[in-house]
């Protein structure tokens, strides 16, 4: 064999088995967002600033030591570096419903009567939305602007309702959900290997995670779409839907995934599935609600305890909704639910109620909003 052929064969044999990690496009975009272009001239002031900070620390340290030596109580020395305080977790039930209408209008409805309280703007193609626990930030996926990969291309955008300011958070990503802690945003990355994208809302670092919790590229390659649906109240686990290539039925999983937990602690549990299961959401840290379409053209929402190996849907029905539920959301207390049907009808159900209340129609997406 000629040496050229041996070289070619060896290079391909070695390199062709290498598959990139999913989520690379998101990581590139995060780098663009995070790291400003380095400026050489900025180095000198930076060094000077570093020296100045070091001097301040030394002086303050000396003062503290001296104060202690003098027997004076020194309570706190303010740190020169502070991190953003974690968002406040909600303590009361939601008092508003955030709704994305099929026409793209983003509105706030009263949770009891469905009356429109305000409009936050119009964003074409809204398909999912989620609010931070303090209600000060809204994240939604809508028709994108970059067109980098498959159509319809979607961006995840942040909206600050108070000011109306918007900021594109991620391109090439679909569904999004904010963790109850307010620290993490999970998105369904579609652009470069379907996967779950995690964005830390405090540090703005972005990560990609295999939806099947496996590093097996063969298995991951079979994923067509990943839709994160919600977080557990303790912000440790995500429930999500996976569409596999050449498989019509959706698969639902609950995953404790990196970077939320260390790689060694990742765990993925498949939920009871089948073509009739259409949506899922967390009720509490160990329980999910699954929406199953019945033969009578309605949906039964059932409660299921997350446990590996169990594949049967339980008989306990929380509530029933007319039509096929395409989106199901519970508030962090697990007491209040929102369900959107394929016909665009929005229902609310709270524990103790006989039947759900219809809040509106022409709805594409809905989320609880602890602010209105």
């Amino acid at each position: 064999m000629k040496i050229e052929d041996r070289v070619r064969g060896a290079l391909h044999e070695y390199a062709d088995r290498i598959e990139p990690e999913p989520g690379s496009w998101a990581r590139i975009e995060a780098r663009l967002d995070d790291a400003p272009r380095p400026r050489r001239r900025a180095r000198r002031p930076l060094v000077l600033a570093g020296v100045a900070v070091a001097l301040i620390v030394v002086v303050v340290g000396a003062l503290v030591v001296r104060a202690r030596d003098d027997g004076v109580h020194v309570s706190t020395v303010p740190s020169t570096v502070t991190s953003a305080p974690p968002p406040v977790a909600p303590t009361s039930p939601p008092n508003g419903v955030l709704v994305g209408k099929r026409g793209g209008e983003l509105v706030v409805l009263g949770e009891q009567d469905g009356q429109q309280h305000s409009s936050l703007g119009t964003f074409a193609g809204i398909s999912t939305l989620t609010a931070s626990p303090d209600g000060r930030q809204v994240f939604f996926s809508a028709t994108g602007t970059s067109g980098a990969c498959r159509a319809p291309y979607q961006d995840v955008t942040k909206l600050v309702p108070e000011t109306g300011a918007t900021e594109r958070i991620e391109g090439g990503a679909g569904v999004a959900a904010v963790s109850p802690s307010g620290e993490w945003l999970v998105t369904g990355v579609v652009c470069d290997g379907p996967s779950l994208g995690f964005t830390n809302l405090v540090t703005h670092a972005a990560y990609g995670s295999d939806a099947l919790g496996s590093r097996s590229t063969e298995r991951s390659a079979s994923i067509d779409v990943v839709d994160p649906l919600g977080w557990s109240p303790d912000s440790q686990r995500v429930v999500y839907r996976v569409h596999l290539k050449d498989d019509a039925k959706p698969h639902f999983y609950v995953g404790r995934l990196w970077p939320i937990v260390p790689q060694a602690q990742t765990e993925v549990v498949e939920l009871p599935g089948g073509p009739a299961v259409t949506a899922a959401t967390f009720v509490d840290d160990d329980t999910v609600a699954l929406a199953e379409t019945t033969g009578a053209g309605s949906t039964e929402v059932r409660r299921w305890t997350v446990a590996p190996g169990s594949t049967e849907l339980p008989s306990t029905v929380l509530f029933r909704v007319r039509g096929r539920v395409v989106s199901l959301v519970a508030d962090p207390s697990g007491q209040h639910f929102l369900a959107v049907t394929s016909a665009g009808e929005l229902y609310r159900w709270s524990r103790g109620e006989d039947r759900p209340t219809r809040l509106g129609d022409d709805v594409a997406a809905a989320a609880w909003l602890p602010w209105s």
């Binding site: 040496i3 050229e4 041996r6 070289v7 070619r8 064969g9 060896a10 290079l11 391909h12 044999e13 070695y14 390199a15 062709d16 088995r17 290498i18 598959e19 990139p20 990690e21 690379s24 496009w25 990581r27 590139i28 780098r31 663009l32 790291a35 272009r37 602007t145 970059s146 067109g147 980098a148 990969c149 391109g171 090439g172 652009c191 470069d192």
Partner: protein, 177 residues
């Protein structure tokens, strides 16, 4: 075989200059995988390979106004960043231990055929330019002109580096058999 290298990002005329995000998105879709593999061949390390390619995309994005041929620029950046990475690694090794020729990992050892393993191992001992020319020629199937443009050297240099690299490889491999 590699994807068509001319499909995205080459030969753009200024008046019809496509949108940066669109072109980079398309380049990513078509070439990200092959660029990662290229970086891994140059670096012997997958994690560092991905890091290098992502950084290359960021640099192309920032330098967009002056980039005439994005794919060539991207490849050049990947090669240059890989080179820098190797240089840093070499310095680090010098500080802690005598320089040893990089060897295949146990995983690679297990999966590569003997002959392929010998070739890869021998290539890693070649001078840097010869190694780069051979990887670009026989993995990416680039022409001499494309390799020259990627490495910023003349066509003649590409020819001589490739020829010397192949000869050295042949000698080394014959000596082992």
């Amino acid at each position: 075989m590699m994807a068509d290298m001319t499909a995205a990002g080459e030969g753009r005329a200024d008046p019809a200059r496509p949108d940066r995000d669109l072109v980079l998105g398309e380049l990513h879709r078509q070439h990200y995988r092959s660029l990662v593999r290229l970086a891994c061949l140059l670096l012997d390390e997958r994690g560092a390979g991905e890091d290098v390619v992502q950084e290359a995309f960021v640099r192309v994005y920032r330098a967009w106004a002056g980039v005439e041929q994005p794919l060539t620029y991207l490849r050049s950046t990947v090669v240059n960043l890989s080179r820098s990475q190797l240089r840093r690694r070499l310095v680090a090794r010098r500080r802690v231990e005598p320089v040893a020729a990089p060897a295949v990992s146990p995983e690679e050892h297990a999966v590569l055929l003997d002959d392929h393993r010998e070739v890869i191992d021998a290539m890693r001992r070649l001078p840097r330019r010869q190694h780069e020319c051979l990887v670009l020629r026989y993995y990416l199937d680039l022409s001499e002109a494309e390799i020259a443009s990627t490495l910023g050297i003349s066509n003649g240099s590409v020819k001589s580096h490739s020829s010397r690299g192949l000869s050295a490889l042949a000698r080394h491999l014959e000596g082992r058999t």
